[in-house]
Symmetry: D2
Subunit: 284 residues, 4 copies
């Protein structure tokens, strides 16, 4: 169980907006643990996140929603309040590279990631082992014996069956089909093993090696149907040199990948990310 | 001239605080360019900064102050509003090492630092040259021909004469006397050439070399009478290796020093720093 | 099995030294994969590491040693050659905090760390589980039911029984007794959860929080009988802000700890570290 | 005057290579201050740099060259030895953005960059001022009143007249014509204000803002006729957030640009960079 509500809002900027929201929260006794505001001065759009101590509010979720609706409508808000009584359900999709998967599972196991993990889905049977150890149900989906469309249909069925909220591609290495990208817009998180927009697509470390860059990186972003073009949540980089082979970069880069994905996912789960067109506001 | 007011507030945390401040600002038409909040959950203290478009307010400074007073008193606020009609006056104190001085002057010259620089004070005549080039009045204070107390009295006289607001020790290498530390509490900024609290005191790069650390750094902090113990505003670090001599560290570390001091001073000038006992809140 | 010899040398600097070593290696057909030199100009000491393709040499280890002896003696070398036919044996000592342990085990499992792990030793039974999953023998040593000296004697017995080469304190949280520090000089690696020499001793994140630093870090170093004063192998830092509580620092700092320890251990296992008094040369 | 020779070598890798070079150097009494080797295992190419105490050698440059020739030919070396009796001549080309220019001049003035600066060339008259202060001859080249080809011909004439060795484009903002790129291959250094290959071409900070990246950077590289595609010497990055406007990125990015260019130029001047096709070996 979480101990806080998170109220996130985006809307056109307007004088009096913060006053009215603050007034509303004060009226119901909200103890604010954290508050963040951002105004995009080019688009005149306003973004706001409040983290509110759950037991300080004299309202339940349904009453809150009903009571807040007039303000939300007045200011044309796109808004969301998280329910402290339930944890988001996160599905982890993985392949044979396990460093991101193992890292996320350990963080989850030790309480760093506030979510349930109802399933691990992989196209490699070897992943069953690590899933078993963490007592997470494992689903093998065969990408070799059937058309990709069927494999993804199988995945969609699992996600739907388990009421999954967020999909994490933890080095899954399969490109989601366009309709799935749309279904999971803003709810599917990928880790790409380069500093995007550099080296999108396949074999980014080899690309980095061939170009002779002096830093490598990793990018955690929302999945869209444009490959590696979705809104970026978090990026990490690391210095390398001429003495690093492409294989060394693969090894070193894993640390960037793990950290970027873990940070990005945590921000998402804590409602710290607001998507604005193809960019993100991250109240880290 | 600046184009924004900056309102900074600290006070005990209380429900309704943000609502009332926001309501006040909205009432006078304030367009908020940037807003930052912080609650220290251990001390239950609240910190807030608003950057307000200057010409959006229907109030002048004096009226604002009078009107805001009841709210400030009600919530026991320690507060400050910057006057957009005047730039803070910054005195730069330097010695023979000129990298920080030259860096600050170039940033100031190209509009990166919103302040006036009414004087450069140094204990080396050679600094006159660079001051002349930037057309800043230069004051030589002799630390060899007179007791230190007299030299500092001379400096205090200059600062007073020129109505200086902020003193920057840009590698000044002289320890301010205790009374001067008190006079300039929260208004004197130093750059120490180590990652504090490591290597306080003299010759920090030699200390770092002797200890065999793998990263060096620099710390920008407010001056207090406890040497190198004041509230930290900003720190920078840089990787080094066994192949770096103490001299190499001196050279490399300069880049940390320049950046840490320039960032720290900019945060201070833009009222982004609130001092809370021996720590800082930096709304960067 | 490893595929390379590693020859490491330290000695007083002298003209002709490199020529003679290189000549020796060439004479026996050594294909050099990597070569690193360092001269400490203050002490006139010379350090050298060669990584040699194992099957390129026409000599076995014993013959190599015999043949190289005259050169080593002539130049007063402190030298070492690794045996490509055997992997170093690493004991992991852990306590209830498992992030470093889990991270090292995953890296080892996926081939990133070239060693055997003959045992995990812990003062918490809960660690048995993770050891079992990685199929590593687990030893529980009770630090509560017996005097510390007896507990450490038990550990020494296990290490001796298993012919352990390197001891890793993966957040073990117990201070090694002085005699054990001496026995394992240059062979026991610790991770301290601060940027040393800042915040040595207990509760470094709380110390960092109290001091109000803007960066936290972790230090991987060899254990000596002076607590947290041993030769530093690797350090990592991370930016924090006023909004991070001491608990946030604990969570964030784990990423520094994991990376610093994993890098430090890898450097050690690949014979990339040469200890010189209280400092290290790291041919990373 | 410099106090060291720098001998740089690249050639096909071969057993006995290092032995023979080391033997040669020892024979003439060379005290080696720094030695670096690199073998590119994919191309089997070998790279080596020696820094030799100038007065330790019993040979003058001409005799050295004659004596070394047989070894160079035997191993098919592409090699170079720097003359400690002369400093390289560096021309700085600048435009209206002065941060890189001012930074390089200050470093040079304080002895950080071992070179002569026989000229500053700019397409803005305002640069005359800063050149005068550093007592460096200034050349204004008008890019508005004449065809670009003529302006560049004028620049080439100045460079030739002054026997310039290295050209630095310190935010010069004019694209060198193809023939000039060829004439100055490996001797013209540019700073691009992005983390290449991301955001090549015009307005990289605006591109970065539009893409919503979480880190910005700068790249120091050799100029080739493919714009922003030359061998990379050095890169720097810096974290940004949604609260940074494109203008903030321009300001912040300057620190990356200054550091990347200063490091890259220093590496070049100290013969630490060896170009290998479109990549660099940097013995930093």
């Amino acid at each position: 169980m979480q101990h806080s509500f998170r109220l996130t809002i985006q809307c056109p900027d307007q004088i009096g907006l913060v006053a009215q929201v603050s007034q509303f929260l004060a009226q119901y006794g909200a103890t604010i643990l954290e508050a963040n505001h951002h105004t995009d001065l080019t688009t005149q759009r306003f973004f706001m996140r409040h983290e509110i101590q759950a037991d300080s509010m004299t309202l339940d979720m349904a009453t809150f929603t009903a009571a807040f609706m007039p303000i939300a409508e007045k200011f044309k808000m796109d808004w969301h309040i998280s329910d402290p009584a339930s944890l988001p359900k996160v599905a982890l999709l993985a392949s044979h590279e396990t460093h991101c998967l193992a890292d996320l599972l350990h963080r989850w196991h030790t309480g760093e990631l506030a979510c349930e993990i109802p399933c691990i889905i992989a196209n490699h049977q070897a992943i069953a082992d690590i899933a078993a150890w963490y007592k997470v149900p494992f689903y093998f989906v065969n990408f070799k014996s059937q058309p990709k469309a069927d494999a993804f249909a199988q995945i969609e069925a699992i996600l739907s069956e388990l009421s999954v909220d967020t999909v994490v591609l933890a080095r899954f290495m399969q490109i989601l089909p366009e309709d799935m990208c749309h279904n999971w817009a803003g709810k599917a998180i990928n880790i790409h093993h380069s500093f995007l927009p550099s080296f999108a697509g396949a074999k980014p470390y080899q690309q980095a090696y061939d170009r002779g860059v002096k830093l490598i990186g990793a990018t955690c972003h929302y999945v869209t149907s444009d490959l590696d073009e979705g809104p970026i949540i978090e990026q990490q980089v690391m210095r390398i040199s001429h003495s690093d082979s492409a294989t060394d970069m693969v090894r070193k880069g894993r640390d960037c990948e793990k950290t970027a994905l873990a940070n990005g996912l945590r921000f998402h789960l804590e409602d710290r990310v607001i998507i604005d067109a193809n960019k993100t506001i991250v109240f880290a």
